[in-house]
């Protein structure tokens, strides 16, 4: 009721913008958990953008006088074994996590989406062969594939992005293909075909826009696992190289050695990873309920 009241009370000129807010408010009301996830992702995004403002120290500056310091007014979340400020490193780590997460998710989803679109639209033997090839990629555990990939490509930020995006391709292709299969049979596609439009134009111009819902759901859900895989790769020393502060590497073996003396070394980066992934999982779940009509009500 409150939502409707707001809508009525708004002058005609401001309406389109207010409607956006109303949609958001309604989403938050219906999916409080999803909204909480959205807030978490927003906080992470803002942290990544304003990392230079939010930092209290240089994230890569070492300080021999203050190694393994506990929580204090000077170092909010303490320092690591080289005296680097944990808080500032976590703030900058958000940047690395988000860049790698978003870039690899988009790369994998777009490539996979195109493959799924074409394979689903073409159908027949093309579809069958494509699906079998995707089976090959999907048969391997995501992490194992990313592990081998990143080792093969060498430690660099763009290589990590590629390594994480490859395992996403088959998953994205599956999702887009299945929605293409149902859209393909719709009457407006038949109409487009009877107008003599070219196949590529039908596929990209008429089918693709209608897969945007599943695509958004897919991206949100994959973002979480991409962040997780990046953290794991970095933890194993196969991810983002020095000097970029990465949450995963902050937890690596060298940190684990000092865990007993300085538990904050292990706790805070892990909490940062968990919150980021948690946020994207919550949002992804809520978006799937809202945008995917097949799952509505379950």
């Amino acid at each position: 009721m409150a939502v409707r009241g707001v809508e009525i009370g708004i002058p005609a000129g401001a309406r389109p913008r207010a409607r956006g807010w109303v949609v958001l408010a309604r989403f938050a009301q219906k999916k409080p958990l999803g909204a909480a996830g959205g807030v978490l992702i927003l906080v992470m995004l803002l942290t990544a953008i304003f990392a230079d403002v939010l930092q209290t120290h240089d994230p890569i500056a070492t300080d021999a006088a203050a190694t393994l310091a506990g929580l204090s007014a000077e170092h909010w979340l303490g320092t690591d074994h080289l005296g680097r400020d944990i808080y500032s490193r976590i703030v900058h780590g958000a940047r690395v996590s988000l860049i790698v997460g978003v870039a690899s998710t988009l790369l994998g989803s777009v490539l996979g989406g195109i493959i799924g679109l074409l394979s689903g639209y073409a159908g027949g033997t093309t579809d069958l062969v494509t699906q079998r090839i995707l089976d090959i990629l999907q048969g391997l555990p995501l992490l194992v594939l990313a592990l081998v990939m990143s080792a093969a490509l060498g430690p660099a930020i763009h290589n990590v992005i590629i390594a994480i995006s490859i395992p996403i391709i088959p998953r994205a292709a599956r999702v887009i293909r299945s929605s293409v299969l149902s859209i393909r049979e719709m009457q407006y596609i038949e109409a487009a075909r009877s107008l003599g439009l070219q196949h590529l134009r039908i596929a990209f111009g008429h089918i693709l826009p209608n897969t945007i819902g599943p695509f958004i759901v897919l991206c949100t859900a994959q973002l979480g696992s991409a962040i997780l895989v990046e953290a794991t790769l970095s933890y194993l020393g196969l991810g983002v190289p020095e000097p970029y502060p990465s949450w995963g590497r902050m937890l690596s073996v060298s940190a684990a050695e000092y865990a007993q003396k300085a538990p904050h070394l292990v706790l805070f980066p892990g909490i940062a990873i968990s919150l980021a992934v948690f946020g994207s999982n919550l949002l992804g779940d809520a978006l799937r309920d809202t945008l995917d009509p097949r799952l509505r009500g379950s």
């Binding site: 079998r132 391997l140 995501l142 080792a151 196969l238 379950s298």
Partner: protein
């Protein structure tokens, strides 16, 4: 049924063949090989010396020769020789397999023990506070890195109980109790994570089944909620869960890679990471193939099981 099985087997073999190509190619993309790494600490090495070693390891030959050679070896059951340890690969891998299998089995057990009951409760109490709490609990499991959870568990034990888990592997023959503790903790960390997927699929599939007519009939007969849910509904709702457990197996192995590292367990997964870092091709190739075979077989098994468990699912032929 028979044609279906044969069909599936043929596809499985083709998939594995494709995987072998992918794995082989990926590893050859790597900059630097074992010889570079072996000599990186040795200072200057003459090119002729390097050539001799490459020849000895057989990596001076064209790639396709190496590939065909590898396939032939695998088919004859020979897993090749580790570059680094100068030992047959199988000899190194064999003692690692039981460790990983035990861990995987225990993790799956935990995942089911946590996932199924929480999923049932969540479905029965749909949209109540309890439902929300359980869903957040399971989603939290999906969000925490398994290796971090392991580190926190160890940290908690050290801090509150002043108990340090054994730093090296304890065999059951040495000390059964210590062995159990050593495995239960990482299994709990991995299993909690896997339980999230099982919980969600149990919940949604039970919700679906609860809407069916035969459940309404069961209610109409005046049966208690417990009987309706556990005896009538869950029986059918668990079928998709079985599938997920099969798929979970692939994720599980991914989770084990880091968990074995954190808990210092000499398993296949931890060894894989070390082998990758060493560019020990035969070991990496064979380990990844081994994982691929396990995943494909478990998927195949689950699909077969599905037909047995559910009379409605009958494969043509």
């Amino acid at each position: 049924m028979k044609t279906y099985v044969i069909q599936r087997l043929v596809i499985a073999v083709l998939t594995l063949l494709g995987m072998s190509v992918v794995i082989f190619t990926l590893l050859r993309l790597a900059p630097g090989d074992i010889v570079d790494i072996l000599f990186s600490t040795a200072g200057y090495v003459s090119p002729s010396e390097k050539q001799a070693i490459m020849k000895e390891l057989g990596i001076d030959r064209p790639y396709w020769v190496q590939y065909v050679d590898w396939l032939r070896q695998m088919l004859s059951g020979d897993l090749g020789k580790s570059y680094r340890y100068d030992q047959p690969a199988w000899q190194i891998i064999r003692p690692l397999v039981p460790v990983t299998l035990e861990l995987a089995a225990l993790s799956t057990l935990f995942a089911v023990l946590i996932g199924v009951p929480t999923g049932v409760i969540s479905a029965v109490r749909q949209d109540t506070t309890l439902d929300y709490v359980l869903r957040v609990f399971s989603l939290a499991g999906l969000s925490m890195p398994a290796f971090w959870l392991g580190m926190v568990i160890i940290l908690g034990l050290v801090t509150w109980f002043a108990w340090i888990p054994p730093l090296s592997y304890v065999s059951p023959a040495q000390d059964l109790k210590l062995h159990a503790v050593q495995f239960l903790l990482p299994a709990l960390a991995v299993g909690y994570r896997s339980s999230a997927l099982i919980m969600r699929i149990t919940r949604s599939s039970l919700l679906e089944v609860m809407r069916e007519d035969y459940i309404r009939t069961a209610w109409a007969k005046g049966q208690t909620g417990r009987v309706v849910i556990w005896r009538h509904a869950l029986k059918n709702a668990l079928l998709p869960v079985v599938t997920v457990i099969g798929i979970e197996f692939a994720f599980l192995i991914g989770g084990l890679v880091v968990t074995e590292t954190v808990f210092n367990l000499p398993g296949v997964a931890r060894f894989l990471v070390q082998a990758i870092l060493w560019r020990d091709y035969p070991i990496v190739q064979n380990l990844v193939m081994f994982i691929a075979i396990v995943v494909i077989l478990s998927n195949l098994l689950v699909d077969m099981l599905y037909g047995v468990l559910d009379p409605r699912v009958r494969y043509g032929g």
